[in-house]
Structure formats: C-alpha cells, structure tokens
C-alpha cells in the first residue's frame, strides 16, 4: 500500500534520512523503531509533504505521492497522527473530529465513523464539547487518534503515541490501538520509542538509526536479533 524507495530528506543541507526504503502492505501493522533523532518524525513529515525530499520515491496506493500537493494527501487516504498530538486547542473535541473528517470519505462515513470512534475511545464522547486544549495529554492523544480515524483512512500513521504520557496511560493507548486494528483491519504505520511494545504488536518492523534502516524483519526475527535485544529491549 505504501512503498518508500531510497528516500533521502533533510532540513537545509543537513540530511536526516539517507536512502530509506520501507514497505507497508495492505492490512499490515508496521513499526519503525529507533533512538531519538534517527529521523522517524522526518520520515512521517516527508510522507505528509511538510518536508521536501531530496531524492527517492513514495508510492501510495499506486500514486506517486511526491507529485501530490501536501493538503491533497489526506484526501488519498493517509491519516497522520502527529508527534506531540497537535490537536486544535481552541476547537472542541467534536470540532476536532470534524476536522479529521474533512476528506470526502470522512464526510461520507461520518455517522458510522463517529459511532465507532466513541465506542473505541469513550472519553471523547464524554468530553465532546470540551475545548481540546484543556484536556490531559492522554486524552489529547486519544483525540488525535480519533481525529485520524474520522477521515476513513486507508493508512493510519502514528507518530509516538506514547510520547510524554504516564506508562499506564501509554499502555492503555497501545491496548486501544491493538483493539482498533483487530476490529477494523486498518493498515497502520507506527513510529515508537517504546520498542518492546511496538515490536510485540507489529507484524513487521524496521530499525532506523541516524537516518538509515539498519535492520528489518517480521516481529519474531527482530525480537530474536541480538542487537535489538541488547540495544532496545535491555536483555
């Protein structure tokens, strides 16, 4: 569904991504793990068009994504749940969800989507009229996920959903994500620093270090790999 080939990108002559190739098949749950500053967020921003690549290709659903203007990419079926949540603080929870549903498919499926989102993340239903800026970090994260789901995406990209959250809250959000995926069969691409949890639930994983893919494989291979065990799993 998403094929990234030899992608290089960076900010004004400082390369962050170097010849990165990643494949996400339809229905797959793919995790990208790696330390701070490895280029994970830049990779997502390049997919969404906020960062312009200096080389390589991104093919989404048979479309050359780099030829599509950034705001149009959401309409193709890419939902980006950004790092640090980035909900719209002065909009209510409901309005945030409506912004997620700006795409054609999101508008069409609004009723069924909102029902399912409220079922998966009931806190959003309770707080539907609250301003997003006044919610806790965990609640904002759930809103950001709900906002992404509201667009009826083909691919849900999650950038560190556990960032800055208490471990129990992060666990809860992980558990929700796995439940959402189990029920919807949605294709997901996850970037995470909580390597153990990410690799446990994903079908396939990539290890990104200093802008390079240093390792990839299905979840059993990665978790059995010595380097991963030592560097990330603390074993």
């Amino acid at each position: 569904m998403l094929r990234i080939e030899g992608l290089s990108a960076g900010y004004s002559a400082k390369p962050v991504l170097n010849d990165v190739s990643i494949d996400v098949g339809a229905g797959q749950f793919v995790a990208i793990v790696g330390p701070n500053g490895a280029g994970k967020t830049t990779l997502f921003k390049t997919i969404s068009g906020i960062v312009k690549p200096s080389g390589g290709a991104i093919i989404f659903d048979g479309v050359d994504l780099l030829a599509v203007p950034p705001p149009q990419r959401a309409h193709l079926g890419i939902a980006h749940v950004p790092e640090g949540r980035q909900v719209f603080p002065s909009l209510t929870v409901m309005e945030n969800l409506e912004m997620g549903a700006m795409t054609e498919s999101g508008r069409r499926d609004w009723r069924t989507n909102i029902e399912r989102i409220f079922e998966w993340l009931p806190v959003l239903k309770e707080r539907r009229d609250q301003f997003a800026g006044t919610m806790s970090g965990g609640q904002q994260q759930m809103l950001a996920i709900g906002r992404g789901l509201a667009s009826s995406p083909k691919l849900l990209m999650l950038d560190e959903p556990s960032m800055g959250l208490a471990p129990s809250t992060a666990d809860f959000i992980f558990e929700r994500l796995i439940e959402i995926r189990r029920q919807s069969g949605l294709t997901m691409l996850l970037v995470e620093q909580r390597v153990a949890e990410a690799l446990e639930s994903a079908d396939h994983g990539y290890v990104l270090e200093a802008g390079h893919v240093v390792l990839q494989g299905n979840n059993a291979t990665l978790r059995a790999d010595d380097r991963v065990r030592k560097a990330y799993l603390g074993m």
Partner: protein, 311 residues
Amino acid sequence: MEGFFQALAAGLLIGAVYGLMCVGLGLIFGVMRVINFAHGDFMMLGMYTAFYLFTAAGVQTLFGNTVGPFVAILLAGPVLALFGYVVHRTLISHVSGTRTASLEGEGHYAQLILTLGIALILQNGGLIVFGSVLASIRTPLSSSAWELGPIFDMSIFLNKARSIDMIVSLVMMILLSLLITRTRIGKSLRAAADNPTAATYMGIDVDRAHRTAFALGCGITAIAGGLLATNYPFHPFVGLEYVIVMYAGVVLGGMGSIIGAFWGGMTIGLVQQMSTLILPTQLQNAAIFAVFLLIIFFRPQGFFGRVVERT
C-alpha cells in the same frame, strides 16, 4: 447626567461600527498572523467603492437617497473581498503561509514591507484617481435623529444613520460569528489558525484558508468603512487615521481573538465619545491611547487573548 447617557449612546453606536472594522483586521491577523498595514487603505477603497456604486453605478436611482447608501455599502463588501482575494493571490501569498512557514520570523519582515508598500500605492493611487476633495455618503438620515424618551425627564437623541449603521454592524457580526463557529469553512479557518501543520494533515489547504480569511477581512472592513462614511467625510489618506484605531482595537481584544476584536473596537468607540464629557474634543484620540495603555498594563494579553502560545 443627560450628557453622560447621550455620550454613552453615541459611544455604543460608533463602537459597534469600530468593532466591525476591527473584526476585519482581527480575522486576517487571527488566521494568518500577517500584520497588514494596508488594511486602513483597503477600508478607504471600500468607502470610495460604496460612494461610486451609490452615485455613479445607479444604486441611487434604483433605491433612492435613504436606502440607496446602505445597499451600496453592502455591495462594496463583496467587491473589496474580491480585491483582497486578488491581492492575496498575487502578492501576500508570496510572503506568508506555507511558503514562509520554515523561514526565520515566518516572513514577517517581508510582510511589513510589502503591506506598507501596498498602503503607499493605494493612498497615492487614490489621490490620483479620486482627487483630494473630501467625499461622503450622505443620506437624509445622517442629519436626523430619533428621540429616546423622555425617561425620568431625560431624552436621548440617536442619529438615525448611525443607529442603522450599528444595526448593520451587529447583523454582520452575528452572521460572521455563525460562519466562524458553525460552518465547515469557519471551523477549518480556526483549525488553520490553531495549527497550520496539523490542518494540512487533515487535508485543509492552509494557503486557501488564508486567502478566504484575507478576502473576508477586507470585505468586512470595507462595509464598516462605508458605514462610517455616512457620517464622516473621507479622502484617500483616511486609512491612516483608522488603521491605528484598528490595531488598538485588535490588541485590546486580544491578538487572534475575532470576537475580542469587536469588543476592542467597541471599547475604543465608547472611550472616544465618553472622553468628550471631560476633555476637549481635540484630545479624543489621546484619551483612546491613555485608556489603551491602562488596559494593556493590567491585561497585556487583551480581553480575550490566550496567554499560552499556539503549539
């Protein structure tokens, strides 16, 4: 006592129009974060557009002297909105929005120079095209009044034209609030203002949202300008006098708050009229800024301003 209420009434009438004028600028600043120095001159263009629509384009013959001016003023709104749209597309978009999001200062320096340049061109171009003779959009209502009362032996006189100006302002304000809070376009404007990057992730074209806000802001201020012109004569350099009031109103209301801009403008109208009770008329504008400084001293973020920075 009667003088007090008379000044209060006059302040409320003019304040509503100032409020609308400030909202036009507040909308542009709130959504785009662009400091538009040319906004007073867009208003000047709105005044002349209403003037020529009324006198030369047949509105006067069609609607008469009483209703005609207000029809012309309302029509000047869409005309200036279109003008604003074109100015944004051809000029402002080059120094704002996603194009400059990654630059230091987000392109604010270029915006200052560009909008100042546009202001100069409009002022001097206006002088060439319209001439330096004072113009005004007079209606018979401008020189007649309704008598309120007598209540407790007091009568307050409300200038008819200014009263209708206030009603038009309030109706515009209500329509705009509904647009901003209830419609898909309005919500996407607020989302683009809150977080342009996240808005892009939602599939909102931020540059187009900016263009909409700019056009809307120009149209609204043009209507406010036309309303002012029913009582105050104008000339090509009139924008300078008002742009300072506009910025004071927007800052007072809280930078970025659209409803705040209205109350900021209202406050300025009230202070301006009430100050005549104790100060000579020449000091009206000095009084505005004395009160402005006082309010900003105690509430630097303005009435409705958020203290937190946007993420």
